[in-house]
């Protein structure tokens, strides 16, 4: 096991609406090492979306500490978090979240724009990332001209392009047919084999089986943390 890339200690998240208090996460302690492929599993309302927001630095925890690649991100400001997201995290969303007006490569280069990478370098790296996901011949196509599976692969290329510490995939196959699902999951497997750290949020068992480790969340707590059958295969 290498250095933990994610270290969560006593993470709590409480939502307040008026006098009502709702504890979405009540004390999460876990660590994820570099190169791990972890699936966070749980029914809706279990707190896995909240955990995903915190892991993705989209939200601050109410209490507890979160070290991402050695940096404490639990108390950072919005602008600092934006920078951490840009450098450390590659997002893949259920809704793809591609900008319809931009061709594939312009979508992929977006994180590099915010990282301040010069224009000509961005195009090179975006095309390289698209080649990586098997879309070398689709760089100029707009999302509307691509199939769902292809769109999600563009989104994966966008997550890859900054060479982040972790790829965070939130129900990446939720909107895909079975063929495209297999397509995207194979791609994630490949990335994992190449040494990427991947955290996958899902409620589908067979999707979770593809990961090397399953974190099961229920009522804001981790109820089980087990290696899967695949753990040995790819390790």
């Amino acid at each position: 096991m290498s250095e933990p890339i994610i270290q969560l200690d006593g993470i709590r998240k409480t939502y307040r609406s008026g006098t009502l208090e709702f504890e979405a996460l009540c004390g999460i302690d876990t660590a994820i090492s570099e190169g791990e492929y972890v699936a966070v599993v749980g029914p809706s309302g279990s707190g896995k979306s909240t955990l995903m927001n915190i892991l993705g630095c989209l939200d601050n925890p109410t209490a507890g500490s979160y070290l991402l690649a050695g940096e404490d991100v639990s108390t950072m400001t919005e602008a600092q978090l934006a920078e951490v997201r840009n450098r450390r995290i590659g997002f893949v969303f259920q809704q793809f979240n591609l900008l319809a007006s931009l061709p594939a490569w312009r979508n992929v280069e977006l994180p590099l724009v915010y990282a301040g990478v010069p224009r000509h370098v961005r195009r090179e790296r975006a095309v390289a990332a698209l080649t990586r996901v098997g879309l070398a011949d689709r760089t100029e196509n707009r999302p509307g001209e691509l199939s769902g599976g292809q769109q999600q692969r563009v989104a994966v290329a966008r997550a890859l392009v900054t060479e982040p510490a972790m790829i965070l995939a939130d129900e990446p196959t939720g909107n895909l047919d079975s063929r495209s699902t297999a397509d995207v999951l194979d791609l994630l497997d490949e990335l994992h084999d190449a040494g990427r750290t991947i955290v996958l949020i899902t409620h589908e068992k067979d999707v979770a089986e593809r990961a090397g480790r399953n974190l099961v969340i229920s009522d804001g707590q981790i109820t089980s943390d087990n290696p899967t059958a695949r753990a040995g295969v790819s390790a």
Binding site: N53, G56, L58, D59, E78, A79, A82, E83, R85, N86, R87, F91, F93, Q95, N97, L99, S101, L110, P111, V113, Y114, A115, G116, R158
Partner: protein
């Protein structure tokens, strides 16, 4: 994200919603075009008045009987009083009493019928001295002006304005012909050139100028009263000195203080000011209305930008997730709003310029585009974009990425 990237992203967003951007700009376009045109009309009207007054002659002081104040309130019978005399004019012409005065032309003026053969024309018969031509900066198209001898002897000669000449003599040269004024036969010795005033039908071009001695004989008047004394200062630099000299000289001669003077002296400048004050009020009023329409255009920009923020809430969330800081997002929307404002300003100026070519012949009013107003309008358009973009931009910047991503 540097400014060049932000500008490019802004331009892309504006282009992505072409129709909406155009409609948003329309408010600014109309506002800017109307500001430019109203200021242009005001300027055009002022230029026209200045032209007319410049045509009076340069370095000119106009001494009238009766007194008037700047505010327009009048004491004495302004214009009808007979407090100015030929002797006053002679005194002003005295080099020792008024060293900064170069020439003096006293005039009398009566409206009289002039007859040439069968043709009758009522015009103002102006009696004056030989210096009138130079003082009033007039020239002749044909013939000559009367001489000192003719002035002294009250010769029966007349110089016609160009409009008068063409009314009385449709064919051939009037010079050498005879006209009848008040039963007396006068020989036409010259025709004046047009005064150069842009206003056609100006009284400056319709008059019959005779020696002042002849004018007195024609009207049977024995008094030395004159209706106006035109005084030419030696140069524009000595105009105010000449003003002082004429004022104190006349006050002394009339035995009054300058505060209760029974005469008034105006300069071209004061005439221009009086004529312009009405114009100015109207221009300010119209420009105010145009400015309000500009403001409404700005509110339109804000409205559309707010819609745009709401509509692109997922895009904002995504951009934030990918690493856009709140200030980068805010800047992007601010740049978009500014671009709409600036583009609206540029188009508005184009519309204004085209309007300034197309409108004047249609409405018979000159339009003078002012560079200052144009630049100011452009800056205002930009400022409107920025000003009314701040609120939508800060709304976009403050969105939290999870809420923005989650919204449907």
């Amino acid at each position: 994200m540097n400014w060049a990237e932000t500008l490019r992203a802004g331009a892309e967003a504006v282009r992505a919603h072409r129709m909406r951007s155009l409609l948003t700009m329309l408010g600014i376009v109309i506002g800017i075009a109307s500001v430019i045109l109203t200021v242009g009309f005001g300027q055009g009207a002022q230029d026209k008045v200045r032209d007319q007054i410049d045509a009076l002659g340069s370095n000119l002081l106009i001494v009238s009987p009766g007194s008037s104040t700047d505010s327009g309130g009048m004491r004495g019978g302004f214009g009808s009083a007979t407090t100015l005399t030929l002797d006053d004019a002679t005194a002003i012409a005295d080099r020792t009493a008024a060293p900064d005065v170069s020439r003096v032309a006293p005039t009398t003026s009566t409206s009289t019928a002039v007859t040439a053969g069968e043709t009758n024309w009522t015009t103002s018969v102006v009696g004056t001295t030989t210096d009138w031509l130079d003082v009033r900066a007039r020239t002749l198209t044909s013939g000559r002006f009367f001489t000192d001898d003719e002035l002294a002897s009250g010769a029966k000669v007349v110089v016609l304005g160009p409009d008068t000449a063409s009314e009385l003599f449709s064919f051939g040269s009037p010079v050498g012909q005879t006209v009848s004024i008040g039963g007396q036969q006068l020989t036409v010795i010259g025709v004046l050139d047009s005064s150069g005033s842009s206003d056609s039908g100006s009284t400056e071009d319709d008059q019959a100028v005779v020696p002042i001695s002849t004018a007195k004989a024609l009207s049977g008047s024995t008094s030395g009263a004159v209706s106006t004394i035109y005084v030419e200062a030696a140069s524009s630099g000595t105009l105010s000195a000449a003003y002082q000299e004429v004022q104190s000289l006349l006050a002394t001669r009339h035995g009054v203080t300058t505060a209760e003077a029974d005469f008034s002296i105006s300069t071209q400048e004061s005439l221009v000011e009086t004529a312009n004050s009405t114009n100015k009020t109207l221009t300010v009023l119209l420009t105010g209305i145009a400015a309000i329409s500009l403001l409404v255009g700005g509110v339109g920009v804000m409205n559309i930008m707010l819609v745009s923020v709401t509509e692109r809430i997922r895009e904002i969330g995504l951009r934030k997730a990918l690493g856009a800081t709140p200030s980068v997002i805010g800047r992007q929307f601010l740049v978009e709003a500014s671009m709409l404002g600036l583009a609206g300003g540029v188009v508005g100026i184009l519309v204004g310029v085209v309007g300034s070519w197309v409108l004047p012949p249609l409405i018979d009013q000159p339009v003078t585009l002012s560079l200052l107003a144009t630049v100011a309008a452009l800056l205002t358009a930009l400022a409107l974009g920025v000003g009314f973009g701040v609120y939508p931009a800060s709304r976009a910047a403050r969105l939290t990425p999870i809420d923005a991503l989650r919204s449907e």
